[in-house]
């Protein structure tokens, strides 16, 4: 039996490691994409340079420019130890060349397979793929205890990566923040974890938010039975079909939820609201994003507010037009510097503007915005500095069924 040289073994595990590192960084690469990369390498599409390999791997494995950063991090982590491009490309070629995989199946193996199958001539692509899959499986159990394959990505390592990035940003505050994140990691609940909730009252309140329109820019796709009968009769019995536009709710809803630390006590209430919005399928469009204490230059896609799992607030301005009706849910209990200082966002980027300025941009962009606050002070409460400032900017309602009803009326009214 032929022995693998250490370099070969090292090389193969490095390539495999790249796969796992990508996944650990939060890239959801599937086996089909990985095999597509193999196929591309087999066809020699990477040439012999690392740079070409970088772009080839990126165009096949990464499907959004927002993930390029994660890919870069993974790439750097796996390949940074290597000195020069020449050296690497030699190495790379050795492990990346598909013939290497074929070589892995040593002579003895071939002979055995030969005997078993009888008709075996050469390893074809499918068999190499099968071999490769097998290898991935083996490797998996060795390195990672199988946790990568089952279910979603390792949330922990993901969170760690986010934490690292945040840590670099905040510098001096790391101690406070990391402690906070540990708490956060346990307490934040993904509102999407479908807890079945019967919250009819919220749903009914949300139903108020509708504007039926047949003037939408959609084709006439529904048969107008009355019109057809009329026209056909007028036409002396010869069929004449009349189509009409379906009646559709024209309301588009944008829900922005605070998922900062002070909101934890209200998470079940927020969950109710989220579920109700999510179940209301009568809107033209619903978008939900999360923020941490105040809105800055990034909005998060999940309540955990992990770095990287976000969209640009500017993207939202460009793509969600001013017709969207906006519901912001938050306790508006930011520290004054979180609201007014350009360094107030200790968790992520702020694009050079303070939270207050971002809120002003929101107000300038969207025609209809209401703020729902689960712990709004009754009456005038000047000692709550941030809440008072936010209240002066947006109509604020307490997050109760009653408050929600009022807020919906506000959103739908013309005033």
């Amino acid at each position: 039996m032929r022995c693998e040289t250490p370099a070969e073994r090292n090389g193969i595990s490095m390539f495999t490691k790249f796969f796992y590192t990508c996944r650990a960084k939060g890239l959801r690469i599937a086996l089909t994409e990985w095999l597509a990369l193999q196929e591309a390498l087999e066809k020699g599409l990477a040439g012999s340079s690392l740079t070409e390999f970088y772009y080839l791997a990126r165009m096949i494995l990464v499907k959004s420019e927002t993930d390029f950063d994660k890919f870069d991090m993974a790439f750097e982590e796996v390949f940074k130890g290597v000195q020069s491009e020449n050296e690497i490309s030699k190495n790379m070629l050795r492990w990346l060349d598909k013939s290497e995989l074929i070589d892995m199946v040593d002579e003895e193996d071939r002979f055995r397979m030969n005997e078993q199958d009888g008709i075996f001539t050469d390893l074809d692509k499918d068999e190499v793929e099968a071999k490769f899959k097998e290898r991935l499986r083996d490797q998996d159990s060795e390195h990672n205890g199988g946790s990568f394959w089952i279910g979603s990505m390792g949330k922990t390592s993901f969170g760690n990566a986010g934490g690292n990035m945040g840590g670099i940003r905040v510098g001096g505050q790391t101690g406070y923040q990391s402690a906070f994140q540990v708490i956060g990691a346990r307490k934040y609940r993904d509102f999407r974890d479908d807890r079945v909730l019967e919250n009819r009252q919220f749903q009914l309140a949300l139903r108020k938010l509708r504007q039926f329109s047949t003037k939408l820019d959609i084709p006439k796709t529904e048969l107008d039975i009355n019109g057809t009968v009329d026209k056909t009769c007028n036409n002396g019995g010869c069929l004449q079909i009349v189509m009409e536009r379906p009646r559709k709710n024209a309301v588009k809803l944008l829900l922005l939820m605070d998922s900062g630390g002070t909101m934890i006590p209200y998470s079940s209430l927020l969950n109710d609201l989220f579920q109700s919005v999510n179940k209301s399928n009568h809107y033209k469009d619903v978008k939900v994003y999360y923020f941490h204490n105040c809105i800055y230059s990034k909005l998060y896609k999940t309540p955990e507010c992990e770095n990287g799992e976000w969209i640009d607030t500017e993207w939202m301005f460009r793509n969600l037009d001013s017709d969207y009706k906006v519901i912001i849910v938050g306790d508006a209990a930011m520290a004054p510097e979180e609201l007014y200082s350009t360094t107030g966002n200790y968790r992520g980027p702020n694009g050079g503007l303070s939270g207050y300025e971002w809120l002003q941009l929101m107000k300038r962009h969207y025609r209809k915005i209401v703020w729902l606050n689960p712990k709004m002070a009754p009456g005038h409460a000047p000692w709550r500095e941030a809440e008072t400032a936010v209240k002066a900017m947006f109509p604020m309602y307490k997050l109760t069924v009653d408050g929600l009803n009022q807020a919906m009326m506000k959103l739908i009214s013309n005033k």
Partner: protein, 269 residues
């Protein structure tokens, strides 16, 4: 194997050319993303020209359904024809009209199929095309005919990132993101269109252009093609370079939305 290369009208970056060629080699659709006005649609035309193949464009609108691309069964026409006793009403095939995808499959020559602005359609739209794009065939129920690609078309898909595309769909694509050109490249691009542009005018116009693009709440960022148009307008209007920043002449060419114009006026005052 045929290789895509830059044409005279379209200068593609190395990476972009590589993506096109990888997509052709792996027989996968190429997904092109990038801001509006970065030349996504032009790419398909350039590819078609470079390879000497026919281009079929399927423009996607918010109301487009996957079925539209395959075929349409014109039942109403058939009903009408039936009433008036037209010839051939019993021949259903007469009322089946192939869509753009069907046309691409049915072509004897290999064609380039551009699915333009796929993100305009419903969220489910890309998923509804998975099978057809994978297998390059579909079935017409009414006539029991299978339309299978005679020559696998080269599929180029563009997206403005207005909506997220489904994972299952993305997994099958080769992805390329066209970066917005930086100032140096932009200067080059402008000069290929206006070789005799005056130095000062170009500099002032570009300053304003990038300044507007950097505004946080701008609803529609001006694009490359709009800058080229604007410089053209400034040249024709004979605007002196020093007036550009102060007066923003013809600014409507780069700022198209009323709200953006208002915001810009407010900032000026």
């Amino acid at each position: 194997m045929q290789q895509f290369e830059s044409t005279q009208e379209y200068v593609a970056s190395e990476q972009l050319m590589a993506s096109v060629n990888v997509a052709i080699a792996l027989k996968k659709p190429l997904l092109i993303k990038g801001e509006p006005g970065t030349g996504k649609t032009m790419l398909a035309q350039a590819v078609a020209k470079s390879l000497g193949k026919k281009l079929i464009i399927w423009n996607i609108k918010s109301t487009t359904k996957a079925q539209d691309g395959l075929y349409m069964y014109d039942t109403i026409q058939r009903l009408y024809d039936g009433q008036f006793g037209e010839e051939g009403v019993d021949d259903i095939a007469r009322y089946i009209k192939l869509g753009k995808l069907g046309e691409a499959f049915d072509s004897d020559e290999q064609v380039i199929l551009l699915i333009d602005e796929i993100d305009k359609a419903d969220l489910e739209f890309p998923n509804d095309l998975l099978w057809e794009l994978d297998q390059m065939e579909f079935y017409i129920h009414e006539t029991k005919r299978t339309v299978k690609a005679k020559q696998r078309p080269i599929v180029i898909i563009t997206s403005n990132a207005e909506k997220e595309l489904p994972d299952a769909f993305l997994r099958r694509c080769i992805f390329h993101y066209i970066d917005f050109p930086d100032e140096a490249l932009m200067e080059e691009i402008v000069r290929t269109h206006h070789p005799d542009v005056e130095e000062n005018l170009l500099k002032n116009a570009m300053d304003v252009f990038y300044r507007i693009r950097s505004l946080k709440d701008i609803r529609k960022k001006p694009s490359t093609s709009e800058l080229i148009d604007w410089i053209n307008a400034l040249q024709i209007g004979g605007i002196p370079a020093n007036k550009i920043k102060a007066e923003l002449p013809f600014v409507g060419v780069i700022v198209k939305k009323d709200e953006d114009l208002e915001g810009l006026q407010q900032r000026l005052n």
